[in-house]
């Protein structure tokens, strides 16, 4: 019996204490007709050795070639210390720190995470995570609509240049609550979201919130100051969606425009989380102090203990489902605690300068790669807007075909074809070369692409 410590003696003694003839008898309140037996569809038990063999075999088959895909998840180097510490049993097998005095480790880590995120976003408050970037945006919009008492509508402006999966996820989550999502298109030349197009969609009932994405899905940098100021002029809250790594270099949301964005959210995956086919990652959400009581999710506060020593505890729990039930700011309960632990250690290891160097190196690698690729005939940068660490390219051949050949002939994943999500961009490829990509790999990409395009 794996994981079950009971000996026959234990079982007999326990049943005697209970006064039951058998374990089976403990289930006698379940109507007999409903009882089920073993299911043949479930395979028989494997030993740890056998499941290890199976999983190693399967994992080997999934080992990846050099990856030039970004598109919302990034292959960054994760220092060895991060997960060696984060998987210590005391972090890994603890739960939500309901008993603060026995959970100061987790609580302090979360407080430090909040502190790091507020430093990066230049906002006042942070929660301790949501599921991922897309759900963080959904929660941010629900929060904005709740908080924006000046606006009677639940209309939200959302850029079409935002990650397509973010847009779909947000729709799933917020539409049942009556939010109206209005997509504003990007400029085909620059790849940016112009204020003028936003203005054309503002409508009469007003906007509760405007989503501003920096950089946007194409890696293009938006005119965030103008967008933020325009949103505020409309009486809307400005909701920033940012790649937090970019904040090592770019103006933080709290300083956008005259008053700063009201809420910033996004995907913390670049901070020490393995790609893992898409999760677990962690969404972050920061806001101005005035909005903190509308924030969803766990929040940790610093306080004092009975001896006057500083310590940490969950706070503002009156916002949460286990207290407020149907009136809670969100139904979220379990979040991404372990990922946040890793992110906190990761950021502590990198520090300000390390984070800047990672951001700079990614940016420089992508630029260098694109310089090489754009030297090939027919390959060109798709948009004129400035970018951060990701670039859409226009190709003279169908991107999907090119990608298949890059994989089979040069053992690399060449990027994300844009046509699936933007039919009019079906000649475009979104590429990203993080600090993990070597000169050799980038050279291999350029050489292989040259071969493929010449051979056409």
């Amino acid at each position: 019996m794996p994981f079950i410590p009971h000996t026959d003696d234990d079982i007999a003694a326990m049943l005697q204490t209970i006064g039951a003839p058998s374990i089976e008898a403990l289930f006698d309140e379940i109507p007999a007709a409903l009882r089920s037996g073993e299911r043949d569809e479930i395979p028989p038990a494997l030993s740890e050795q056998a499941i290890t063999r199976l999983m190693r075999l399967r994992a080997q088959g999934d080992e990846q070639p050099s990856c030039f895909i970004g598109a919302g998840a990034y292959d960054h180097y994760i220092p060895a210390a991060v997960w060696q510490i984060a998987t210590r049993g005391e972090y890994y097998s603890a739960y939500t720190p309901y008993q603060a005095e026995a959970s100061q480790g987790t609580l302090q880590v979360l407080y430090e995470f909040q502190s790091m995120m507020t430093a990066l976003t230049a906002l006042d408050a942070s929660n301790t995570s949501l599921y991922d970037g897309a759900t963080a945006l959904a929660e941010a919009l629900l929060m904005a609509v709740r908080a924006n008492r000046r606006c009677k509508s639940k209309r939200v402006l959302i850029p079409r240049a935002l990650h397509p999966f973010y847009r779909r996820t947000v729709r799933t989550i917020v539409e049942p609550q009556g939010l109206e999502l209005i997509e504003v298109d990007f400029d085909a030349a620059s790849g940016q979201t112009p204020v003028e197009r936003c203005a054309a969609l503002a409508g009469d009932q007003g906007l509760a919130a405007v989503v501003i994405n920096q950089p946007n899905f194409f890696g293009v940098l938006e005119a965030v100051d103008a967008l933020t100021d325009w949103a505020h002029e409309q009486g809307a809250l400005a909701v920033a969606v940012v790649n937090p790594l970019a904040l090592a270099l770019l103006t933080p949301p709290g300083e956008w425009g005259a008053a700063g964005a009201d809420i910033a959210c996004g995907e913390a995956q670049p901070f020490g989380m393995p790609l893992s086919s898409g999760g677990p990652y962690a969404g972050f959400l920061c806001s101005k102090q005035a909005l903190v009581r509308q924030m969803p999710g766990r929040i940790v506060g610093r306080t004092l203990d009975a001896d006057g020593k500083p310590g940490f505890t969950l706070t503002l729990q009156a916002r949460e489902q286990h207290i407020r039930r149907s009136k809670a700011t969100s139904n979220i309960c379990t979040n991404q605690g372990l990922m946040v632990t890793a992110a906190t250690i990761h950021l502590a290891l990198l520090g300000t300068e390390g984070l800047e160097q990672v951001a700079r190196t990614c940016h420089a690698n992508t630029a260098r790669l694109c310089d090489q690729l754009c030297a090939l005939p027919g390959v060109e940068r798709a948009f004129s807007g400035a970018v951060f660490h990701e670039q859409a390219l226009r190709l003279p051949q169908a991107p999907n075909t090119v990608l298949e050949r890059l994989a089979s002939e040069a053992d690399l994943l060449g990027g994300c074809a844009l046509g699936e999500h933007y039919p009019e961009l079906d000649d475009m490829l979104l590429v990203c070369a993080t600090e993990q990509r070597t000169e050799e790999e980038m050279q291999r990409y350029a050489t292989a692409l040259a071969t493929i395009l010449n051979a056409a």
Partner: protein, 491 residues
């Protein structure tokens, strides 16, 4: 002391960043950050030492008996972590072609099949990121089901008063009104009240069975009939699935939609508050609305099912479709239990709960439902102790920490005064349970002899009792350089 308080300008763990980092080009000056973010500037040893020492300030399954009711704090097998972290799994980009993902997809597909079989549902999607998101997903599917039938009148979701707070919160997030159904004195749902509450406005009912009061609702077939007859659907909150795994299947009880908390029943790590995974299962009529992506077997291989394959789907729940690394851990665990191990989890979780309940009752503690079997958890009420000695459930909870036991869940469900909801799980020994009983008896004795000692607990933790009121009144949610000057002497 915060890691921030150890920061010194210019200090670094310099092996950990690329050494050549050119000044970025092409970024307009007005978009560049003016002031550098104030992250901690510390050495690698400082980081390792800080977070290693901090970890030691936690109780956890790996260090303590942790009978937190409704949370199923059972042993998290270490192998699940090392296998999910294999480079082939951990380093795979979510948008990598499926040719480079047949391994993980095989695991996900097999997990879908196992969950279907053990819950008796027709189809499963692994997409939801946690239990609460599973609830949201499930209620959204109920909504989609009614809307697809043109049934726009159903505005109410029925929810027992003992339910987890996530239930009404999730219902509201889907635009429903939550209507409370009372619990009867025996812990079962008040069937007559239910009968009176259903109607054409009923979208469905959200039930946990065994319920949050720790008993199996014996009238489940009748309840299913009442709700179904009214045109509503039955939603199964899988938080307590560990109690009946392999013994009775939600599908066989008549549920139309369920979610499962893999970090409870399937032993993925709780991680200090996640990540979880909240797969949903459905009966055939709700299957079209399952969230994407799902994995389908096609010939010898596997492919993703997306919106294109499933046009009636409620959509995506997260950016990339789920907490794959958690799903892999659950898969490993499920395969290690195997078909014969599923029921064993329920057997021994139930044995442990009933034994601990019997021992506490024999020691004179009052049970909330003394006439009932415990499921995998049970409730005691300390209202007598509170009245006689002025020592509350919270005081007992804090004093238990000093005895080396994590506290049970306190003050939930709300309908039982001064309650402790106790869930020992199947992986604890009889000796652990006996030790817990001894501690409870010792605390009660102390409550009689020296109640202040109990009320001042804990005494041996890294901190004495924390002032939660102060935390909420004087919000201090982040380190700032200014604070550092004021109270930098932290721990």
């Amino acid at each position: 002391m915060l890691i921030h308080d150890q920061s010194r300008p210019g200090r670094r763990a310099s092996a950990l960043a690329p050494s050549q980092a050119p000044e970025p080009t092409g970024i307009p000056a007005q978009l560049r950050r003016r002031e550098r973010p104030r992250l901690p500037e510390v050495s690698e040893l400082q980081v390792v030492r800080h977070y290693t020492r901090l970890s030691q300030q936690n109780f956890s399954i790996d260090t303590h008996f942790y009978p937190l009711g409704s949370c199923t704090m059972k042993y998290n097998p270490r192998v699940c972590n090392s296998l999910a972290a294999l480079p082939g799994f951990a380093e795979r980009h979510p948008l990598a072609p499926v040719e480079y993902g047949q391994g993980v997809m095989a695991c996900l597909h097999d997990l879908q099949e196992i969950l279907k079989a053990v819950t008796g549902m027709s189809a499963v999607s692994l997409a939801p990121a946690a239990g609460a998101q599973g609830e949201l997903t499930g209620v959204a599917m109920i909504r989609a089901y009614h809307l697809a039938r043109g049934d726009h009148a159903r505005t109410e979701m029925l929810i027992p008063d003992a339910a987890h707070g996530t239930n009404p919160a999730s219902a509201v997030m889907c635009g429903y009104q939550a209507r409370e159904i009372p619990t009867g004195p025996d812990g079962d749902v008040d069937v007559e009240a239910l009968r009176a509450a259903v109607g054409p406005q009923t979208a469905g009912i959200m039930l946990t069975n065994p319920s949050t009061v720790g008993v199996f609702d014996r009238n489940i077939e009748e309840i299913a009939g009442i709700v179904h007859d009214a045109g509503g659907l039955l939603y199964y909150d899988g938080a307590n699935l560990n109690a009946i795994l392999g013994k009775v299947r939600p599908g066989d009880m008549g549920f139309d939609v369920i979610h499962m908390n893999l970090h409870k029943t399937f032993s993925t790590p709780h991680g200090g508050g996640g990540p979880g995974a909240g797969p949903v299962g459905v009966s055939a009529r709700v299957a079209p609305y399952l969230p994407v992506p799902m994995v389908e077997r096609e010939g010898e291989g596997y492919r993703w099912l997306t919106e294109a394959d499933r046009p009636e789907t409620i959509g995506r729940m997260t950016t990339f479709g789920g907490n794959m690394g958690i799903l892999l851990r659950a898969y490993v665990y499920a395969r290690m239990l195997g078909r014969e191990g599923m029921a064993r989890a329920a057997d021994f979780a139930t044995l442990n709960a009933n034994y601990l309940m019997a021992r506490l009752q024999q020691a004179g503690f009052e049970l909330a439902y003394p006439q009932r079997r415990a499921s995998h958890e049970f409730i005691i009420t300390l209202k007598h102790e509170a009245k006689e000695y002025g020592v509350t459930a919270m005081d007992f909870a804090k004093r238990l920490l000093d005895h080396g036991f994590h506290a049970p869940t306190t003050y939930f469900p709300l309908l039982v005064p001064e309650c402790l909801l106790i869930e020992p799980t199947e992986t604890e020994t009889k000796e652990s349970l006996d030790g817990f009983v001894e501690a409870m008896i010792a605390i009660r004795r102390e409550a009689q002899e020296d109640p202040q000692r109990v009320k001042d607990a804990p005494h041996t933790m890294p901190r004495r009792r924390l002032d939660e009121v102060r935390a909420a009144r004087h919000l201090d949610l982040a380190w700032t350089p200014q604070q550092a000057d004021e109270d930098g002497d932290g721990q």
